[in-house]
Amino acid sequence: MDTDSGRDLISDLPQSIIETILIKLPLLDAVRTSVLSRKWRYKWATITELVFNDTCLIPCQDKAIISCNLVNFITRCLFLHDGPIHKFELNTSYSPTSPDLDQWLLFLSRKDIKELIIDIGEDDWFRAPSCLFFCPKLTHLVLVRCELNPPPNFKGFLSLKHLSLQQVIIPPHDIEGLISSCPLLESLTLSYFDSLELTIRAPNLKYLNLEGEFKDIRLENTPHLIGISVAMYMTDDIAEHFEQSSGCNFDKFLGCVPRLERLIGHIYFTKYLSIGNEQGSFPVMYQNLKFIELYQVSFEDMKELLVVLRLIVSSPNLEELQISSSSITTTTDIYDLDFWEKDWPADCTFGKLKIVQMSDFSGLPHEIAFIKFLLGHSPVLEQMIVAPTIYVTDKVVKMLIDLLTFRRASPLATVKFVQEPL
């Protein structure tokens, strides 16, 4: 058996480097290195990250066989693996059955698992086994489409920093407990939760990402929150609930996030905030808020407009503002344009505002007045970009003419009217 001329270049590198290299390969290729030579037989078996996704699938006609193959592959890999596993990711459209998943999770819970990502197919939502709740070193947990039932003696994930639950079925009172029992939690993502009433107490939370139909969200103890992104869906039931609810949503949600730097709100977010919002006082200032993005603000609803104004007036260091209008237009022609002259304080200045972007602009009176307001009160404004909605085409020229006539407080301001919707 003769070797090639030249010394073996790579096999004698330190195992940590070999593992770094193997982790950068798709898992299938990493396992295949075991046929390279005797020394490479088990080099792959100690890598600490195992990522199973569609690159591990062997093409085949029969879906059932592919699924079976994948399950076998994962099981065998885990069996042959030696040493701790820090990251396990399973990302596939096939659905391994519960017994397999349960065993894998049990195995992983004994292997110092730190990052766990499970995103499997839509056929069956798996039920997380209780061993999942006893992975003490877990720092990063992402679960998609599963049922979570924290056992009664669950004390929390004491090392967890990142939690993402999407389409997860969990008893409502358990989810608050889950969040507050993770003292180091820095990033929380909750997607597609239906009709959830939630109070979030997470003293170290920095990033919050919510998407779904939330009845009530209260941020009670989140002093370090830096970034918020909310996509609020609303059904008729929830809208009704809002009519009857008391208390100011704005205060409940944004009442104690003094360090906020980025705020993104989609769909019905501004409507949600507008419930219970009183015009006038601005108790909280957001000194660090630099970026606001609000989608689908209805410029026909005065209350929503007030929310937007309250936000930007409470953010003296705001630098960039992106607003898109809701495309639902009612037939009412009554607009209280006096509001802009009388009720709104004219002495506010947006001292740092540089970029404004208005999308889905349809030329409503309040929209135009809003732009005028911004142009007139932003001394360092550099760009005002306006993009029309795709539905309104005939008013375009008139809008353009109107915009160009507005007084600009900033000598540098350019007003761009973009033909294509942004």
């Binding site: 096999s11 590198l13 290729d29 030579s37 062997i58 065998r76």
Partner: protein, 346 residues
């Protein structure tokens, strides 16, 4: 320049750090460049070394002078704070266009200097050289010895159909294994430190991965091109084709069939084969007529089974190699181990 003096940062004079590589050569490097390496930075801050030629910092053994030059180029570029991400990326892409040997040495050296970004960069480049390649290509790129085959290749086959040809083949394998072991003892090969006994299970996994995917599985290379073994391939085809078909089902091996090798096989080929089995036949060329006949038989059989074997067999036959069959379940392993033990005793 600054010999004998402390490295003082004066506005008009650059300060230098002295580094010594394993081969003894000493060079001076601008301070900000050298301090980009965590290991050097630590040495300077903790022990104050490197300020003069006499107390030059000894770099780890894996860093030779040429590689140090490369590393310093990297540091010199990246330690400048004002560069854009795009610039850095472009530089990195060009930087790693090195030959494989240099790349490996660079990875090793960067690791010993704890320069994590460079380790990641070079590791990624090395991973790109491995990804998607066949084992032969990878072995060639990195000059890896092809030393698995001798042992692994000679694992006995499963004799599902009690085929006398398979029995014979297994016997031959056993003999060959014995010969190998003796050769190894003579060569005084060092004992492998890995304790893993069951190497088959990895092959299980691999063959499982490579079930339909003939490109990636390392074709076991071997020098032996015995004429008689060609005929065995026919037999092996039938057995392995069965196995591929049964890939995902539990198949119970009659373990007893494996032990039937004791019975002398009456078939013609075996009588012809026995005397032919010695080292001299290793490099026999395949008789072209027989090769064609076997090709046809294989294709026909494969067509009947409606599998993708023809291409694989072509590949194997054209390389003049022998193929280890696709093992199935762990049960099979167990029984074969016993079988092996039995054979060795003979």
């Amino acid at each position: 320049m600054l010999e004998g003096r402390m490295a003082v940062v004066k506005p008009e004079m650059k300060s230098y750090i002295w580094l010594q590589t394993a081969d003894g050569s000493i060079q001076q490097v601008e301070e900000e460049v050298a301090m980009f390496c965590p290991m050097i930075c630590r040495e300077v801050l903790q022990t104050g070394a490197g300020s003069s030629k006499n107390c030059a910092i000894s770099l780890p053994q894996r860093v030779n002078a040429a590689i140090l030059g490369l590393i310093l180029d990297y540091c010199r570029f990246h330690q400048v704070p004002g560069r854009s991400n795009k610039e850095r990326k472009t530089f990195d892409e060009k930087f790693i266009r090195l030959d494989t040997k240099k790349l490996c040495e660079l990875t090793s050296a960067a690791d010993s200097l704890q320069l994590r970004p460079l380790v990641d960069l070079t590791s990624r480049a090395l991973a790109r050289m491995i990804e998607g390649k066949t084992p032969e290509e990878i072995r060639e790129t990195f000059h890896l010895p092809d030393d698995l085959t001798e042992e692994e290749k000679l694992e006995p086959l499963r004799n599902m159909t009690d085929d006398p040809r398979i029995r014979l083949l297994n016997r031959l394998y056993a003999r060959k294994r014995k010969e190998l072991k003796e050769r190894e003892k003579l060569k005084n090969v060092e004992v492998e430190e890995e304790q893993h006994v069951d190497e088959r299970s990895v092959d299980d996994l691999l063959s499982f991965i490579n079930g339909e995917d003939e490109d990636s599985k390392g074709v076991r290379t071997t020098k032996s091109k015995k004429k008689n073994r060609r005929r065995k391939e026919q037999a092996r085809n039938s057995s392995t084709n069965n196995e591929t078909g049964n890939h995902n089902q539990e198949s119970s091996f009659p373990a007893s069939s494996c032990l039937n090798d004791d019975v002398p096989s009456p078939s013609k080929p075996s009588d012809l084969q026995d005397p032919a089995f010695d080292e001299g036949d290793i490099d026999d060329e395949l008789d072209p007529v027989m090769k064609e006949e076997i090709d046809r038989e294989v294709e026909d059989f494969a067509r009947r089974l409606n599998s993708v074997w023809p291409e694989r067999m072509q590949e194997i036959l054209s390389l003049g190699q022998e193929r280890r069959p696709v093992p199935l379940s762990v049960n099979g392993n167990g029984s074969l181990k016993r079988y092996t033990a039995g054979l060795d005793g003979r």
